[in-house]
Symmetry: C2
Subunit: 191 residues, 2 copies
Protein backbone atom coordinates (compact mmCIF):
# COMPACT_ATOMS: atom_id res chain seq x y z
CA UNK A 1 0.00 0.00 0.00
CA UNK A 2 2.79 2.36 1.00
CA UNK A 3 4.67 1.55 -2.18
CA UNK A 4 1.62 1.98 -4.40
CA UNK A 5 1.02 5.38 -2.84
CA UNK A 6 4.56 6.47 -3.59
CA UNK A 7 4.23 5.27 -7.15
CA UNK A 8 1.09 7.27 -7.80
CA UNK A 9 2.50 10.42 -6.30
CA UNK A 10 5.76 10.10 -8.27
CA UNK A 11 4.07 9.61 -11.60
CA UNK A 12 1.32 12.18 -11.24
CA UNK A 13 3.89 14.93 -11.65
CA UNK A 14 4.84 13.66 -15.10
CA UNK A 15 3.31 15.06 -18.25
CA UNK A 16 0.48 12.77 -19.39
CA UNK A 17 1.07 11.02 -22.70
CA UNK A 18 -1.59 11.78 -25.33
CA UNK A 19 -3.98 8.93 -26.12
CA UNK A 20 -2.85 8.64 -29.74
CA UNK A 21 0.85 8.20 -28.93
CA UNK A 22 0.86 4.40 -28.96
CA UNK A 23 -1.15 4.38 -32.19
CA UNK A 24 1.64 6.36 -33.85
CA UNK A 25 4.19 3.86 -32.55
CA UNK A 26 2.12 0.98 -33.94
CA UNK A 27 1.91 2.61 -37.37
CA UNK A 28 5.70 3.05 -37.44
CA UNK A 29 6.00 -0.58 -36.33
CA UNK A 30 3.86 -1.67 -39.30
CA UNK A 31 5.98 0.34 -41.75
CA UNK A 32 9.20 -1.12 -40.30
CA UNK A 33 7.84 -4.63 -40.80
CA UNK A 34 6.95 -3.89 -44.43
CA UNK A 35 10.50 -2.63 -45.02
CA UNK A 36 11.77 -5.75 -43.25
CA UNK A 37 9.82 -7.98 -45.67
CA UNK A 38 11.36 -6.20 -48.64
CA UNK A 39 14.88 -6.47 -47.23
CA UNK A 40 14.88 -10.10 -46.13
CA UNK A 41 12.91 -11.37 -49.12
CA UNK A 42 15.21 -9.67 -51.63
CA UNK A 43 18.23 -10.98 -49.69
CA UNK A 44 16.88 -14.54 -49.81
CA UNK A 45 16.09 -14.34 -53.52
CA UNK A 46 19.37 -12.66 -54.45
CA UNK A 47 21.42 -15.25 -52.58
CA UNK A 48 19.20 -18.19 -53.54
CA UNK A 49 19.59 -17.54 -57.26
CA UNK A 50 23.29 -16.81 -56.97
CA UNK A 51 25.48 -19.02 -59.12
CA UNK A 52 28.27 -18.52 -61.58
CA UNK A 53 29.92 -20.88 -64.03
CA UNK A 54 33.33 -19.93 -65.27
CA UNK A 55 33.75 -19.67 -69.08
CA UNK A 56 36.73 -22.06 -69.16
CA UNK A 57 36.93 -25.73 -68.24
CA UNK A 58 39.32 -28.64 -68.22
CA UNK A 59 38.49 -32.05 -69.62
CA UNK A 60 37.14 -33.21 -66.25
CA UNK A 61 35.99 -30.15 -64.43
CA UNK A 62 33.71 -27.24 -65.23
CA UNK A 63 34.36 -24.65 -62.54
CA UNK A 64 31.26 -23.25 -60.98
CA UNK A 65 30.11 -21.77 -57.69
CA UNK A 66 26.64 -21.52 -56.28
CA UNK A 67 25.27 -20.53 -52.92
CA UNK A 68 24.47 -24.17 -52.15
CA UNK A 69 28.18 -25.01 -51.95
CA UNK A 70 28.53 -22.95 -48.78
CA UNK A 71 26.71 -24.00 -45.64
CA UNK A 72 26.74 -20.42 -44.38
CA UNK A 73 25.07 -19.18 -47.57
CA UNK A 74 22.47 -21.92 -47.38
CA UNK A 75 21.77 -20.92 -43.78
CA UNK A 76 21.55 -17.33 -44.96
CA UNK A 77 18.86 -18.13 -47.54
CA UNK A 78 16.83 -20.23 -45.10
CA UNK A 79 17.03 -17.65 -42.31
CA UNK A 80 16.07 -14.76 -44.59
CA UNK A 81 13.12 -16.71 -45.98
CA UNK A 82 11.99 -17.51 -42.42
CA UNK A 83 12.30 -13.87 -41.45
CA UNK A 84 10.34 -12.66 -44.47
CA UNK A 85 7.56 -15.11 -43.56
CA UNK A 86 7.75 -14.01 -39.92
CA UNK A 87 7.36 -10.35 -40.89
CA UNK A 88 4.33 -11.22 -43.03
CA UNK A 89 2.75 -13.21 -40.20
CA UNK A 90 3.23 -10.43 -37.64
CA UNK A 91 1.62 -7.76 -39.81
CA UNK A 92 -1.93 -8.66 -38.70
CA UNK A 93 -0.78 -8.36 -35.08
CA UNK A 94 0.74 -5.00 -35.86
CA UNK A 95 -2.56 -3.84 -37.39
CA UNK A 96 -4.41 -5.04 -34.29
CA UNK A 97 -2.08 -2.87 -32.21
CA UNK A 98 -2.95 0.17 -34.32
CA UNK A 99 -6.65 -0.38 -33.66
CA UNK A 100 -6.37 -1.51 -30.04
CA UNK A 101 -3.49 0.48 -28.67
CA UNK A 102 -4.16 -0.80 -25.14
CA UNK A 103 -3.16 -4.36 -26.08
CA UNK A 104 -0.44 -5.58 -23.77
CA UNK A 105 -0.11 -9.36 -23.84
CA UNK A 106 0.30 -9.41 -27.60
CA UNK A 107 2.93 -6.65 -27.41
CA UNK A 108 5.02 -8.72 -25.00
CA UNK A 109 4.61 -11.75 -27.26
CA UNK A 110 5.80 -9.68 -30.21
CA UNK A 111 8.87 -8.41 -28.30
CA UNK A 112 9.77 -11.98 -27.34
CA UNK A 113 9.39 -13.28 -30.90
CA UNK A 114 11.21 -10.27 -32.35
CA UNK A 115 14.13 -10.87 -30.01
CA UNK A 116 14.45 -14.53 -30.98
CA UNK A 117 14.18 -13.64 -34.67
CA UNK A 118 16.79 -10.90 -34.24
CA UNK A 119 19.27 -13.45 -32.89
CA UNK A 120 18.44 -15.83 -35.75
CA UNK A 121 18.78 -13.24 -38.51
CA UNK A 122 21.97 -11.73 -37.09
CA UNK A 123 23.50 -15.20 -36.90
CA UNK A 124 22.66 -15.98 -40.53
CA UNK A 125 23.74 -12.61 -41.88
CA UNK A 126 27.08 -12.46 -40.11
CA UNK A 127 27.97 -16.08 -40.87
CA UNK A 128 27.45 -15.26 -44.55
CA UNK A 129 29.34 -11.98 -44.16
CA UNK A 130 32.40 -13.73 -42.77
CA UNK A 131 32.46 -16.09 -45.78
CA UNK A 132 32.05 -13.16 -48.17
CA UNK A 133 34.97 -11.49 -46.43
CA UNK A 134 37.08 -14.63 -46.83
CA UNK A 135 36.14 -14.89 -50.50
CA UNK A 136 37.27 -11.31 -51.05
CA UNK A 137 40.48 -11.41 -49.02
CA UNK A 138 41.44 -15.03 -48.50
CA UNK A 139 43.58 -16.14 -45.58
CA UNK A 140 47.29 -16.73 -45.85
CA UNK A 141 47.91 -18.86 -42.78
CA UNK A 142 45.42 -21.51 -43.89
CA UNK A 143 46.23 -21.03 -47.58
CA UNK A 144 42.64 -20.15 -48.48
CA UNK A 145 42.91 -18.10 -51.65
CA UNK A 146 40.59 -15.20 -52.44
CA UNK A 147 38.18 -16.55 -55.03
CA UNK A 148 36.45 -13.30 -55.94
CA UNK A 149 38.98 -12.73 -58.70
CA UNK A 150 37.57 -15.76 -60.49
CA UNK A 151 33.99 -15.62 -59.28
CA UNK A 152 33.46 -11.88 -59.56
CA UNK A 153 29.72 -11.84 -60.23
CA UNK A 154 29.09 -14.45 -57.60
CA UNK A 155 30.89 -12.40 -54.98
CA UNK A 156 29.16 -9.20 -55.94
CA UNK A 157 25.74 -10.80 -55.70
CA UNK A 158 26.58 -12.36 -52.33
CA UNK A 159 27.85 -9.04 -50.97
CA UNK A 160 24.77 -7.24 -52.25
CA UNK A 161 22.35 -9.67 -50.66
CA UNK A 162 23.94 -8.99 -47.26
CA UNK A 163 22.60 -5.43 -47.43
CA UNK A 164 18.96 -6.53 -47.41
CA UNK A 165 19.62 -8.84 -44.51
CA UNK A 166 21.35 -6.22 -42.38
CA UNK A 167 18.47 -3.89 -43.21
CA UNK A 168 16.16 -6.50 -41.71
CA UNK A 169 18.30 -6.58 -38.55
CA UNK A 170 17.96 -2.83 -38.11
CA UNK A 171 14.17 -3.07 -38.59
CA UNK A 172 13.93 -5.77 -35.91
CA UNK A 173 15.99 -3.77 -33.41
CA UNK A 174 13.71 -0.77 -33.98
CA UNK A 175 10.51 -2.80 -33.58
CA UNK A 176 11.77 -4.22 -30.27
CA UNK A 177 12.60 -0.73 -29.01
CA UNK A 178 9.22 0.64 -30.12
CA UNK A 179 7.46 -2.28 -28.44
CA UNK A 180 9.25 -1.62 -25.15
CA UNK A 181 8.44 2.09 -25.34
CA UNK A 182 4.78 1.37 -26.10
CA UNK A 183 4.56 -1.00 -23.14
CA UNK A 184 6.02 1.55 -20.75
CA UNK A 185 3.74 4.30 -22.04
CA UNK A 186 0.73 2.16 -21.32
CA UNK A 187 1.80 1.96 -17.71
CA UNK A 188 2.10 5.73 -17.61
CA UNK A 189 -1.16 6.42 -19.38
CA UNK A 190 -3.19 4.22 -17.10
CA UNK A 191 -2.11 6.38 -14.18
CA UNK B 1 -12.43 8.38 -21.04
CA UNK B 2 -14.45 5.61 -22.61
CA UNK B 3 -11.30 3.69 -23.45
CA UNK B 4 -9.79 4.19 -20.02
CA UNK B 5 -12.99 2.89 -18.45
CA UNK B 6 -12.88 -0.22 -20.62
CA UNK B 7 -9.26 -0.75 -19.72
CA UNK B 8 -9.89 -0.66 -16.01
CA UNK B 9 -12.85 -2.98 -16.23
CA UNK B 10 -10.95 -5.43 -18.43
CA UNK B 11 -7.93 -5.64 -16.20
CA UNK B 12 -9.72 -5.65 -12.87
CA UNK B 13 -10.83 -9.21 -13.58
CA UNK B 14 -7.22 -10.39 -13.77
CA UNK B 15 -5.46 -11.90 -10.79
CA UNK B 16 -3.35 -9.19 -9.13
CA UNK B 17 0.39 -9.79 -9.30
CA UNK B 18 2.07 -9.97 -5.88
CA UNK B 19 4.25 -6.99 -4.97
CA UNK B 20 7.44 -9.06 -4.78
CA UNK B 21 7.10 -10.53 -8.29
CA UNK B 22 9.29 -7.97 -10.03
CA UNK B 23 11.91 -8.31 -7.32
CA UNK B 24 12.19 -12.01 -8.13
CA UNK B 25 12.58 -11.19 -11.81
CA UNK B 26 15.34 -8.69 -11.00
CA UNK B 27 17.22 -11.26 -8.93
CA UNK B 28 17.07 -13.76 -11.80
CA UNK B 29 18.23 -10.95 -14.10
CA UNK B 30 21.27 -10.37 -11.87
CA UNK B 31 22.15 -14.08 -11.87
CA UNK B 32 21.84 -14.25 -15.67
CA UNK B 33 24.23 -11.32 -16.02
CA UNK B 34 26.79 -12.99 -13.75
CA UNK B 35 26.59 -16.15 -15.89
CA UNK B 36 26.93 -13.93 -18.96
CA UNK B 37 30.16 -12.43 -17.59
CA UNK B 38 31.60 -15.90 -17.05
CA UNK B 39 30.63 -17.07 -20.53
CA UNK B 40 31.80 -14.11 -22.60
CA UNK B 41 34.96 -13.50 -20.56
CA UNK B 42 36.08 -17.12 -20.84
CA UNK B 43 35.25 -17.06 -24.57
CA UNK B 44 37.38 -13.94 -25.08
CA UNK B 45 40.31 -15.36 -23.10
CA UNK B 46 40.13 -18.79 -24.74
CA UNK B 47 40.08 -17.34 -28.25
CA UNK B 48 42.51 -14.53 -27.47
CA UNK B 49 45.21 -16.89 -26.26
CA UNK B 50 44.60 -19.36 -29.06
CA UNK B 51 47.62 -20.10 -31.18
CA UNK B 52 49.39 -23.17 -32.43
CA UNK B 53 52.77 -23.65 -34.09
CA UNK B 54 53.27 -26.83 -36.05
CA UNK B 55 56.25 -29.00 -35.03
CA UNK B 56 57.72 -29.13 -38.56
CA UNK B 57 59.03 -26.33 -40.75
CA UNK B 58 60.72 -25.71 -44.07
CA UNK B 59 63.80 -23.58 -44.51
CA UNK B 60 61.66 -20.46 -45.07
CA UNK B 61 58.40 -21.01 -43.30
CA UNK B 62 57.40 -22.04 -39.81
CA UNK B 63 53.73 -22.97 -40.00
CA UNK B 64 51.60 -21.41 -37.31
CA UNK B 65 48.07 -20.21 -36.75
CA UNK B 66 46.74 -17.77 -34.24
CA UNK B 67 43.40 -16.09 -33.76
CA UNK B 68 44.84 -12.81 -35.04
CA UNK B 69 45.18 -14.28 -38.57
CA UNK B 70 41.40 -14.39 -38.92
CA UNK B 71 39.43 -11.19 -38.95
CA UNK B 72 36.36 -13.04 -37.72
CA UNK B 73 38.24 -14.41 -34.72
CA UNK B 74 39.63 -10.99 -33.92
CA UNK B 75 36.09 -9.59 -34.06
CA UNK B 76 35.01 -12.46 -31.82
CA UNK B 77 37.57 -11.58 -29.12
CA UNK B 78 36.75 -7.87 -29.23
CA UNK B 79 32.99 -8.44 -29.12
CA UNK B 80 33.20 -10.90 -26.24
CA UNK B 81 35.43 -8.55 -24.26
CA UNK B 82 32.96 -5.71 -24.88
CA UNK B 83 30.07 -7.90 -23.76
CA UNK B 84 31.86 -9.01 -20.58
CA UNK B 85 32.47 -5.33 -19.74
CA UNK B 86 28.85 -4.51 -20.57
CA UNK B 87 27.56 -7.23 -18.26
CA UNK B 88 29.78 -5.90 -15.45
CA UNK B 89 28.58 -2.33 -16.01
CA UNK B 90 24.90 -3.30 -15.97
CA UNK B 91 25.13 -5.20 -12.68
CA UNK B 92 24.70 -2.04 -10.55
CA UNK B 93 21.57 -1.23 -12.55
CA UNK B 94 20.30 -4.75 -11.98
CA UNK B 95 20.87 -4.37 -8.23
CA UNK B 96 18.99 -1.05 -8.29
CA UNK B 97 16.07 -2.90 -9.90
CA UNK B 98 16.06 -5.43 -7.07
CA UNK B 99 15.79 -2.65 -4.50
CA UNK B 100 13.47 -0.35 -6.45
CA UNK B 101 11.23 -2.73 -8.35
CA UNK B 102 9.04 0.17 -9.56
CA UNK B 103 11.86 1.59 -11.72
CA UNK B 104 10.67 1.92 -15.30
CA UNK B 105 12.91 4.27 -17.31
CA UNK B 106 16.03 2.33 -16.40
CA UNK B 107 14.33 -0.95 -17.35
CA UNK B 108 13.55 0.37 -20.82
CA UNK B 109 17.12 1.62 -21.13
CA UNK B 110 18.37 -1.82 -20.17
CA UNK B 111 16.12 -3.56 -22.74
CA UNK B 112 17.37 -1.22 -25.46
CA UNK B 113 21.04 -1.75 -24.56
CA UNK B 114 20.54 -5.51 -24.19
CA UNK B 115 18.98 -5.69 -27.64
CA UNK B 116 21.87 -3.84 -29.29
CA UNK B 117 24.40 -5.99 -27.43
CA UNK B 118 22.50 -9.13 -28.45
CA UNK B 119 22.87 -8.20 -32.12
CA UNK B 120 26.57 -7.42 -31.59
CA UNK B 121 27.37 -10.66 -29.76
CA UNK B 122 25.37 -12.85 -32.15
CA UNK B 123 27.20 -11.28 -35.09
CA UNK B 124 30.61 -11.94 -33.55
CA UNK B 125 29.80 -15.47 -32.43
CA UNK B 126 28.29 -16.67 -35.71
CA UNK B 127 30.98 -15.06 -37.86
CA UNK B 128 33.54 -17.03 -35.84
CA UNK B 129 31.35 -20.15 -35.99
CA UNK B 130 31.24 -20.07 -39.79
CA UNK B 131 35.06 -19.90 -39.93
CA UNK B 132 35.35 -22.76 -37.45
CA UNK B 133 32.98 -24.75 -39.63
CA UNK B 134 35.12 -24.02 -42.71
CA UNK B 135 38.27 -25.00 -40.85
CA UNK B 136 36.69 -28.32 -39.93
CA UNK B 137 35.13 -29.13 -43.29
CA UNK B 138 36.77 -26.99 -45.94
CA UNK B 139 35.01 -26.10 -49.17
CA UNK B 140 35.61 -27.96 -52.40
CA UNK B 141 34.30 -25.43 -54.93
CA UNK B 142 36.71 -22.74 -53.75
CA UNK B 143 39.46 -25.25 -52.95
CA UNK B 144 39.68 -24.20 -49.32
CA UNK B 145 41.10 -27.23 -47.53
CA UNK B 146 40.07 -28.24 -44.01
CA UNK B 147 42.95 -27.13 -41.79
CA UNK B 148 41.84 -28.77 -38.56
CA UNK B 149 43.80 -31.89 -39.45
CA UNK B 150 46.99 -29.86 -39.11
CA UNK B 151 45.88 -27.34 -36.53
CA UNK B 152 43.98 -29.71 -34.26
CA UNK B 153 44.50 -27.91 -30.95
CA UNK B 154 43.81 -24.54 -32.52
CA UNK B 155 40.50 -25.76 -33.91
CA UNK B 156 39.47 -27.40 -30.67
CA UNK B 157 40.16 -24.24 -28.68
CA UNK B 158 38.26 -22.10 -31.21
CA UNK B 159 35.27 -24.45 -31.15
CA UNK B 160 35.27 -24.49 -27.36
CA UNK B 161 35.33 -20.73 -27.04
CA UNK B 162 32.16 -20.53 -29.14
CA UNK B 163 30.26 -22.25 -26.33
CA UNK B 164 30.85 -19.43 -23.86
CA UNK B 165 29.80 -16.88 -26.42
CA UNK B 166 26.57 -18.66 -27.33
CA UNK B 167 25.90 -18.99 -23.61
CA UNK B 168 26.14 -15.21 -23.41
CA UNK B 169 23.60 -14.91 -26.25
CA UNK B 170 21.09 -17.05 -24.37
CA UNK B 171 21.59 -14.97 -21.23
CA UNK B 172 20.93 -11.75 -23.16
CA UNK B 173 17.75 -13.12 -24.75
CA UNK B 174 16.49 -14.12 -21.30
CA UNK B 175 17.29 -10.73 -19.75
CA UNK B 176 15.38 -8.96 -22.54
CA UNK B 177 12.36 -11.20 -22.01
CA UNK B 178 12.46 -10.74 -18.24
CA UNK B 179 12.73 -6.97 -18.71
CA UNK B 180 9.67 -6.91 -20.96
CA UNK B 181 7.70 -9.06 -18.52
CA UNK B 182 8.69 -6.85 -15.58
CA UNK B 183 7.60 -3.73 -17.51
CA UNK B 184 4.21 -5.16 -18.34
CA UNK B 185 3.66 -6.37 -14.76
CA UNK B 186 4.24 -2.84 -13.52
CA UNK B 187 1.40 -1.67 -15.74
CA UNK B 188 -0.84 -4.36 -14.32
CA UNK B 189 0.12 -3.73 -10.71
CA UNK B 190 -0.55 -0.02 -10.92
CA UNK B 191 -4.11 -0.77 -11.98
Amino acid sequence: MDKAGRLEKGDASKVPVPVGANRGISIIDLILRLVGIAGTLSAAIAMGTNEQTLPFFTRFVQFSAEYDDFRSFRLFVVVNAILAAYFVLTIPLSIVHIMRSAARGSRILLIILDTIMLALLTAGASAAASIVYLAHNGNSSTNWLPVCQQYGDFCQMASGSLIGSFGGIVMLILTILLGAIALSRQARRVL
